[in-house]
Structure formats: structure tokens, C-alpha cells
Symmetry: C2
Subunit: 294 residues, 2 copies
Amino acid sequence: MATLLDGRKLSATIQEELTEEVKKLKVASGKTPHLAAILVGNDGASETYVASKVKRCEEVGIQSTLIRLEENITEQTLLYKIEELNANPAIDGFIVQLPLPTHISEQRVIEKIDYRKDVDGFHPINIGRMAKNLPAYIPATPFGILQMLERYKIPTSGKHCVVIGRSNIVGSPMSILMARNTSVGNCTVTLCHSRTQNLSDYTKKADIIIIALGKPAFLTADMVKEEAVVIDVGITRVPDSSKKSGYALKGDVKFEEVAEKASYITPVPGGVGLMTVTSLLYNTLLAAKKEIYK
Amino acid sequence: MATLLDGRKLSATIQEELTEEVKKLKVASGKTPHLAAILVGNDGASETYVASKVKRCEEVGIQSTLIRLEENITEQTLLYKIEELNANPAIDGFIVQLPLPTHISEQRVIEKIDYRKDVDGFHPINIGRMAKNLPAYIPATPFGILQMLERYKIPTSGKHCVVIGRSNIVGSPMSILMARNTSVGNCTVTLCHSRTQNLSDYTKKADIIIIALGKPAFLTADMVKEEAVVIDVGITRVPDSSKKSGYALKGDVKFEEVAEKASYITPVPGGVGLMTVTSLLYNTLLAAKKEIYK
């Protein structure tokens, strides 16, 4: 039976460390890290995510500012708002909660953010510097997974890591990170996606599987090698009448059967998801300390 | 016996097309594309590369300016020179020939180049945009390989591509490009490198192998599947008393035996190398036409 990679416990531990670090920074320099978040419109899921980010900031002593903009604002207005935040020395880092209304170009918005304040790590400069193994803000979910592998001391050098899904925010950066010449890295990495043929030929040979598809219970035990490390990034709402909410959250891994074979596995919920906000707080602290960029 | 992927013939064909395009641009807008190259010091190999770039520019009607700087110039002087070229509207694109003397930071130099004039595609913004499948200057060698696969109509979608070597200028961008959702792309990509264990387990299963190691005759027939496509980026000088120069150029592939098994193979010399300068000219034309960035 696999050991659980416990995102709840680990994010609590890191959160304690962050709280300490924030305190130290205040004592040393009088400075309180400050994260701003822009939320456009009232999408339910986005409201939940942003609220959780604000709350977690408070818990570690990071100051946060939530900027709400109407659903129907123009792209130009949003870009001006970003320029203001870029220019405001009181803001160490900021994020624009995605997705945006369809009349606004997410790419133009992301590229307008000063990369030195881009704590989501979505700006091309941060992606490019990450690919070149230079200091950069690493996107929150991949960063959370690296932290997990590091803290649980899971060996990666020379291992075969199979990443399933090539999204810009998880799969693609994850595949780049795991292949880099760094302490958590040095894997032989295979990136699989919708066009991959005979997916299980790859997964059956993998020492580490990172799956980010959004297809509940997609990865079954017969696709996994004994003692593999399985990281489940998927999180999908599935109708469940036994729950008060009417739904349950399901990962991409058929947990019960894969857990029998794996050496380590992340639960859903309680796994990778919780690490994501922690990583954002971590990046905000790095921004306040100017550790990535002067 | 494999079909040769003939870089000499293909680069000549593309060069003819570029010559036509340059003429058309002149007629339509009165504009001649203009590439500048900065060469610091007098390294023999760099002199050869830059001379070949200048010559090839002339052949297609692209204007070129070679800027020579002394080996012992300060980094600051080089950075000022770059700022001048950034600001000069007569220059469409420029390159700084690498390697630089050790007292100069290559990374600071690369990041100083205006990404809109970065026709080598080494600036983090171009790498990051490439990874996100946005319009970007693609580094010359990977771009040349894509052109080769496209022009020879080699199917890539759903194929397993194994890239060997994770350098910033070849292996790493190549692995990103082959996995993208584009017409030459959509491969399942495995990136192998110095830490990879049992390399031949991967290469034996590959439909497409791209090797960029700099180890002469490293890839042998027993490591390759029947009908594989083999792209050899390596080019190493090996002593050879039968040659007037005293050396021969050798690729990373044991050509004679691998050619027996492969469906397509690049010779060395006469393969990928010749495509590289062609790609630089291509990027310069794109810059003059402002096709990537306005």
C-alpha cells in the first residue's frame, strides 16, 4: 500500500515556515510582503480560488489587496490597472485570476504584467528563464509538485518521469522542470498528450507519473508499474447524491486500485491542490525579498 | 537503405525561395532586410560561422553589417552596443556570436537584446512564447530541423520522438517544439540526457531520433528501430590524416550502419548544419516583414 503524499500536512508545514519567514522579514526590514489579485467578473470557481488565496495570505501575515473589476470592463481598462500595479512600489507581486471574459486576450494581459511581479509565473520571460534553468517564478502547481517531491525525499535523478497532459500551466512546464539539471529534476521525461498512441506503453515503464488531464479515474492500476510514484493533478466535480453539496471531487487516478501498487500517491482532494496556493505565497515572499529579480 | 535528408539541396531550395521573398519585399515596400552580427574577439570557429552568415545574407539579398569588437571590451560596452542596435530602426534583427569571452555574462547580453530583433531566438521571451505555442523566433538549429521534417513530409503526429541532449540551443527547445500542438509536432516526446539510464531502451522504441551530443559515432545500429527517422545534430572534428585539413567532421550517428536500418537519415556534413544559417536568414526576413512582432 502506497504512502500518501499528504498535501494538507505538507502545506501546513510550509505555511508555518512561511509565517516565520514573513515575521523575520518584518523584523529585519520593516517590510510586509504584499500580494494583489485582480478578479474580473463573478465566476463562482474564480471567487472561491481568490477568496482562498486572500485567506491564506492573511494566515501567514502577507498583506493582500483584492481588486474587483466588472465582467464587462474593456481590455484597455484592465491593462491600465496592470500598469498601475506594475508601477506601485507597495505591491511586491500580483496575479490576474484566470479565466478572463472572452472579449479580453489572456495572453496580452499576461504579457503586460511586469515579469518581476509575475508571481503566477505565467509571463513568457519566466517560462523561458525556467526552461534555461535560470532563476524564475515557477508556476504554482508545478512548483507545489516539486516541493512535494523534495520534502518527501523522492529520488528523481535518472528516473523515468511520464507527464500526461501538455497544458501551459501544468503539463508543459512540469515536463521542462523534471528534465532540468537540478536537485529535483534530472529525470528522463516523456510528455504524453491527446495525440499519444498506446499511452499505457509509456505509463507502465514510468518511475514517476504526473497526470493532469481532468478525466476522473482515467489512470488505472494496469497502467502503472509496481512501486511507481503517482502525482494526481486532476480535480473534477462528479455528481454525488451522498454529499451535501451534490458532488464529489475526483482526481485523474483510480485511487483505490493504483494506491495498492504505487510506492507514493497523492490523494484528491488533499494532495497537489493544497500545495498550489502555498506556492503562490512562497513566490510572493521571494518577490518581497527580491530573491529572483533585483 | 535510408533516404538521405539532404541539407545541402534543401537549404539551396529554401535559399532560392528566400531570394524571391526578399525581392518581393523590396518591390512592395522598398525595404531591404538588414541583419547585424556582433563578433567579439577573433575565435577561429566564430570567425568562420559569422563569415558564412554574412556570405549567405549577400546571396539572398539581405543586407548585413558585421560589428567587430575587441576581445577585451567590457561587458558594459557590449551592452551599450546592443542598445544602439535595439534603437536603430534600420536594423531588423541582430545576433551576438557565441561564445563570448568569459568576463562577459552571455545571459545578460542575451536578455539585453530587444526580443523583437532576437533572430537567434535565444531571449527568454522567445523561448517562453515558443513553449506556449505563440508566434516567436525559433532558434536556428531546431527551426532548421522542423523545416527538414516538413519539407520531406515526414509524419510526426502521434509518433514517439526521442531527443538526446538537453542543451539550451538544441535539445531542450527541440523537445518542446516536437510536443507542441502544431503541424510539425504532436509527438510523444522523450528527452534523454547525461543522467538517463539505459538510453537504448528509449532509442529502440523511437520513431524519430534527434541526437545532439557531440560524441562521434555514439548512436549505433543496435540502438535504432527499423524504419526510424534519424536526425544527427552532432558535428565534431576528428583527426584524419587522409584529409588536407588534417581532420574530418563526424556526427553523433554511426552513419553507415544506422543508414541500413533507418527510413530517413541526415548526413554529416551536409545535413542539419546547413539548415541552421538558412533558418537565421528566414528569421531575418520574418523580422523585416514584422510577421512575429509588430
